[in-house]
């Protein structure tokens, strides 16, 4: 299987490389270049998924590595000019990922665990943010540009960096749960926590960024609090409209639901960009509405969307990998690895504390922690805002933050998938049977 996958990758690489020689190096052809990159990444990502299956690694890691390897920083089969055109898929992917997450979250079923979920989400984020704040505050004395800042300015720099790194990744968690078809308390708890935490992060980043614009008045022009309310509530309203349209479609027509979901989320993502709405919130609200407030149920729609979910995930994570700035990462690797370790320690400490407060099993708490380590879409989007909004120091601090995200991006999915398999919740993994023959854990929260 691995040999076949490698041969397929070699053939597709050769074809794409030959085609790229039609125009001079550095040039591309709008439209065709993006279609070529899309096809190339999708085929190679699916082959990489086969290799990852054999190596018992998460497919998501394979997708990310494909993007990194063939992206603009290494082999350059996918050039930097092709990537912006693929953003069309990225926005839709974020909305689809959030939609699938919303479809999985049945609030009635989660009610007995809501206290544990809320406590764990808040304490893990808070503990990680505090430790990261301390680390970055210390770093502001070392980084030349921030060393001249006032105390308040240093506090704001550390606050913004800590805020971004406190974000989790619903995309990775949904991706891992989707590829392993995992079901059970660990899956549901991890998913609920990352979704809840991302909502909090969107709000707290707007607050810390507003503070940043007050302390650094000359730099950029961020959104601030005035934009926050329409941004959040507008997204929720748009999500409710999208959910209602989907419910109506399934109720009255039903045929080609998967394509319709994709088309609707594509429009939501495109219109959302123009209207400054958040595709994540739109998708999540639509999914939650369908699962909790309509008789249709999110599960049916999530199943219908499975066909389009695989290519969307593969492209989304491959593009995320291709966007990684490896050169910058290598320069800041020790700092980034240190920050990733500090973040993991904070999350673990927060989870243990939450476990003690709400009475969670220790092993379960550890496994939940592993689901909170990955970072991807939201964190990267926030880094992009940091780079754009705070030009003199933003790119320098942003590079360290991005390096930390890369570490979490590569290690997080592997650890979480392993935790899912160990917990016996993975349904489609060949190696899901535990090595010591144990059966799946019982619900420690019930």
């Amino acid at each position: 299987m691995i040999t076949r996958a490698l041969l397929t990758i070699a053939a597709v690489v050769a074809l794409t490389y030959a085609t790229r020689s039609f125009v001079p190096r550095g040039a591309t052809i709008t439209g065709s270049g993006a279609a070529l990159a899309f096809g190339f990444l999708l085929i190679v990502a699916v082959q990489a998924a086969h290799i990852c299956d054999r190596l018992r690694m998460p497919r998501l890691t394979g997708y990310i590595l494909v993007g990194m390897l063939f992206g603009p920083e290494l082999l350059r089969i996918v050039s930097a000019k092709m990537l912006p055109d693929l953003a069309l898929v990225k926005g839709t992917a974020v909305a689809l990922i959030a939609f699938l997450a919303g479809c999985e979250l049945n609030l009635r079923r989660l009610r007995p665990r809501l206290r544990a979920i809320g406590t764990t989400a808040l304490l893990t984020m808070f503990a990680a943010a505090v430790l990261l704040f301390v680390l970055f505050f210390g770093l502001t004395y070392v980084i030349p540009i921030t060393a001249q800042f006032t105390l308040l300015q240093r506090v704001v720099v550390a606050l913004i960096a800590a805020n971004i790194l406190a974000a989790y990744s619903p995309a990775v968690v949904v991706g891992i749960l989707s590829e392993t078809k995992a079901r059970g308390p660990l899956s549901e708890t991890a998913l609920s926590i990352v979704v809840l935490a991302d909502l909090v992060i969107v709000v707290t980043y707007a607050l810390s960024s507003t503070l940043g614009h007050v302390v650094f008045p000359a730099e950029g022009s961020g959104g601030g609090l005035l934009l926050l309310l329409p941004h959040i509530f507008g997204s929720i309203v748009a999500g409710m409209v999208a959910g209602s349209v989907l419910a109506l479609y399934v109720w009255r027509i039903s045929a080609r639901s998967g394509i319709f979901i994709f088309a609707l989320l594509f429009i939501a993502a495109e219109a959302g960009t123009a209207l400054h709405l958040n595709p994540l919130l739109i998708g999540l609200t639509a999914g939650l509405l369908l699962e909790n407030l309509t008789p249709i149920g999110g599960e049916q729609l999530a199943h219908a969307a499975e066909g389009v979910a695989l290519p969307t995930f593969a492209i989304f994570f491959a593009v995320v990998g291709a966007e990684v700035q490896l050169q910058a990462f290598l320069h800041t690797a020790p700092l980034a690895i240190g920050a990733a370790v500090v973040r993991a320690a904070g999350i673990y400490a927060g989870a243990r504390l939450a476990g003690r407060i709400v009475g969670l099993d220790r092993l379960f708490t550890t496994r939940v922690t592993l689901g909170l380590l990955p970072q991807a879409g939201v964190a990267i989007a926030l880094v992009a805002l940091l780079l754009a909004d705070f030009p003199p120091w933003g790119p320098i601090v942003g590079t360290i933050v991005l390096g930390t995200i890369i570490v979490n991006q590569l290690i997080g999915p592997v650890l979480f998938r392993n935790a899912i398999v160990q917990a016996g919740e993975a349904a489609v993994v060949e190696s899901a049977s535990l090595p010591d023959g144990r059966i799946a854990d019982e619900d420690p929260m019930a």
Partner: protein, 406 residues
């Protein structure tokens, strides 16, 4: 973006979704089948109008169309691959050899008639050789070739054995249209100074054939042993995107290269061939809506040249189909009478939209005046043809009622 812009965008997108919902409604599909209507005449026309409206409202700007270009290329590739899968040689081998000339006549005569009539009209309105006459005449020829079968159950009720023949004719003329499209892409190459490959036109012809065949083999190897339908869809999408991206990158006709790939794919021995064709067809209809939407944005109904060209196109194309039907029935007595046979072949196929869309893409977002006239010609031609076909079918329905009563 200003508040009115935002309001326009939201209303426009809401209308697009609503129309997509209506277009996919089973009742609309039932109407199409029952009355022998084409997609163009039912759910397609609203999309065309919508594209026109969106341009007027400033929603479908050249910037938006440029952003969506990867999606269009992918769509062309998908439709091309689907058309290519019609070229199953095993099916053609089973056709009686005497029907070969009939199929050739039915496909080629309308092309010839439309070429002469539309070429003269274009020259009369000032499109001379060297100023796009040949290219525009070729585009209209490709549009003239393709037909969608009318209500065959009604029209051929006394010649049921001919139904298959009519269906085969409509499949073959799709390939004739794509061949013309491929020829246009080979003859009218982009500026040689910006590319690194400098081949003669015969080289590009071989390149088109070779690339299509090679990509067919690649897609075959990708999907042949896949058991998971989700992975099959992902690989099919990847294969189509790769094929359309490569063809578009090399400035070849995307739909043609992908049709060749589809033809190669379908003729290989493969498990689950029907499932793959089914998947391709499932996504085909929404893609036509998308194309109609974009073609609508380039449509200018206020240009009289387009209306004139439309009338000439409809009449010459219909005349070509009628002459082909008369000659065919004279050559092959087993065929139905020429009138129902000609009417069965008359409706305009959605492939014309692919041809027009490719021409619009070749010309950029706005499209040249001639391409806009060609769009008008095909739209007007389709509507006129549809009216004639429906009138004939109404008469046939009445006759069928009398036959049943007797």
């Amino acid at each position: 973006m200003t508040a009115p812009d935002v309001a326009r965008l939201v209303v426009a997108l809401a209308v697009a979704v609503a129309l997509a919902v209506l277009g996919a409604h089973p009742r609309v599909l039932r109407w199409e089948r029952r009355f022998g209507l084409t997609v163009l005449a039912t759910s397609g026309f609203p999309f065309l109008i919508l594209g026109l409206l969106f341009r007027e409202l400033g929603v479908l700007t050249p910037g938006v169309l440029a952003d969506l270009r990867p999606l269009f290329e992918f769509g062309l590739g998908w439709v091309g691959l689907t058309i290519g899968t019609n070229l199953d040689l095993r099916r053609f081998d089973r056709l009686p050899p005497a029907l070969g000339p009939v199929i050739a006549l039915a496909s080629l005569l309308p092309i010839l008639f439309a070429a002469v009539a539309c070429g003269l009209t274009l020259a009369w309105v000032g499109v001379l050789p060297g100023k796009g006459l040949i290219r525009d005449a070729l585009i209209l020829m490709a549009c003239a070739a393709v037909s969608a079968p009318a209500n065959l159950e009604l029209l051929l009720r006394r010649w049921k054995s001919s139904t298959r023949l009519v269906l085969e004719v409509t499949r073959i003329d799709q390939l004739a249209a794509l061949a013309i499209l491929g020829f246009v892409a080979i003859m009218f190459r982009p500026d040689r100074t910006v590319t690194l490959w400098h081949l003669p036109r015969s080289g590009w012809f071989l390149m088109t054939l070779g690339l299509g065949a090679l990509l067919g083999i690649v897609i075959y190897f990708l999907v042949r042993n896949v058991r998971d339908p989700k992975e099959e869809l992902a690989l099919l999408m990847g294969g189509v995107a790769l094929a359309s991206g490569m063809a578009g990158y090399l400035a070849l006709a995307v739909a043609v290269v992908c049709a060749l790939a589809g033809a190669v794919l379908i003729n290989f021995p493969m498990r689950g061939r029907e499932r793959i064709v089914g998947t391709l067809r499932e996504f085909e209809r929404p893609l036509y809506f998308l194309f109609l939407f974009v073609v609508g944005a380039a449509w200018r109904p206020d240009e009289w040249q387009g209306w004139l060209l439309g009338a000439v196109f409809a009449v010459s194309r219909a005349y070509g189909k009628i002459v082909a039907a008369r000659l065919s029935t004279w050559m092959e007595p087993a065929l139905p009478e020429w009138k129902p046979f000609a009417v069965a072949l008359l409706p305009e196929s959605t492939i014309a939209i692919v041809v027009l869309f490719s021409a619009t893409a070749l010309d950029g977002a706005g499209g040249s005046a001639q391409v806009r006239w060609a769009i008008n010609a095909v739209i007007v031609g389709s509507v006129l043809t549809e009216i004639a076909v429906q009138a004939f079918q109404r008469r046939e329905r009445r006759l069928a009622g009398e036959e049943t009563a007797a």
